[in-house]
Point group: C2
Chain length 162, copies 2
DNA sequence: TATTGTTATACTCTATAACTATA
DNA sequence: TATAGTTATAGAGTATAACAATA
């Protein structure tokens, strides 16, 4: 009953694990796919000394000169306290400037420096190239569907019942 | 020059932030969408006192009785050291058992208890219902495309140049 | 010598309460 | 009183090195 069945291969892990139950969940597949994309993105941004959050913040600041930290935090869906260290890092590296808003001295106006804009250009080019490579086996139609679907999912949160 | 221009609305954040540059990246859209799905999943699993990781581990153990921690870690794409605390929690709550494998006394065979299998049934039902609700605005065609696309992305990692 | 599970540790991301300075 | 930014802190998730027991 408890006798060991003779095994030819040296790998006891030869029997593959079934994830049949989980596979059908969109959430499960998205987590796994997102992990792939994220780890690729981390590697891509490494040479620029950027992480996902610092990269995203830099892009938004370049594209929206003068915005405040709270606006950035809301746009990135990050809590304000967590925004501070991100901004601190970008400022310390002289990629952005933090200037008091004259009309509201509580707030800071964030702007990219020339150095920040140059890093922005390089980082975006690298991310674009890596993403194109990662998605090379998806045709244009599939990509369009994915983008559309991702937007639908994002909207599903707020409009719980229009 | 520095006079405050009279504003009608009380909200200075009225000017919306443009994320046009980021929007076209699949990775960006996936992160945002995944955040929505994840936070919904967290809420869904809360009543069962499960997190994504403990939920995933429980499902895989129920579906693959007797598997080892290292197999589970590989299946979940989690480092072995991080698997330990997850398994600890499931065992402490008597949802699974950890039995020494007779043929390899280094390893543990993981099995779900009756309590574990019951929680599995309830949790899966809840997750299924919540996911259906979250994706209610996506037709079957879109879901199929998404699932297929997520698999393509996952495969893109390993087969860098088949 | 290699592998299973473990401990310790560290870094990132996330989340909340409470403070300050301004409004 | 409310808001912008900050500090402190705690919880998750993730990653690596090093160890004991076993193969």
């Amino acid at each position: 009953m408890k006798k060991v069945a003779p095994r030819s291969g040296p790998r006891p892990a030869a029997v593959s694990v079934s994830d049949a139950t989980l596979r059908s969940f969109v959430g499960y597949q998205m987590k796994r796919a997102f992990n792939v994309i994220q780890s690729d993105l981390v590697k891509t941004l490494k040479p620029f000394d950027l992480r996902m959050l610092t990269y995203t913040a830099l892009v938004l600041i370049v594209d929206n000169p003068g915005l405040r930290q709270s606006q950035l935090a809301e746009a990135m869906d990050v809590e304000r306290p967590n925004m501070v260290v991100i901004i601190d890092e970008l400022e310390r590296r002289e990629l952005i400037t933090r200037d008091r808003v004259q009309t509201d001295r509580r707030a800071y106006a964030l702007k990219a420096t020339l150095k920040g804009r140059r890093l922005y250009e390089k980082a975006i080019a690298a991310v674009t190239a890596h993403e194109a490579d990662l998605l090379r086996d998806l045709d244009e139609d599939a990509r369009t569907t994915i983008l559309a679907a991702m937007k639908v999912i994002q909207k599903a949160k707020k409009g719980d019942q229009s």
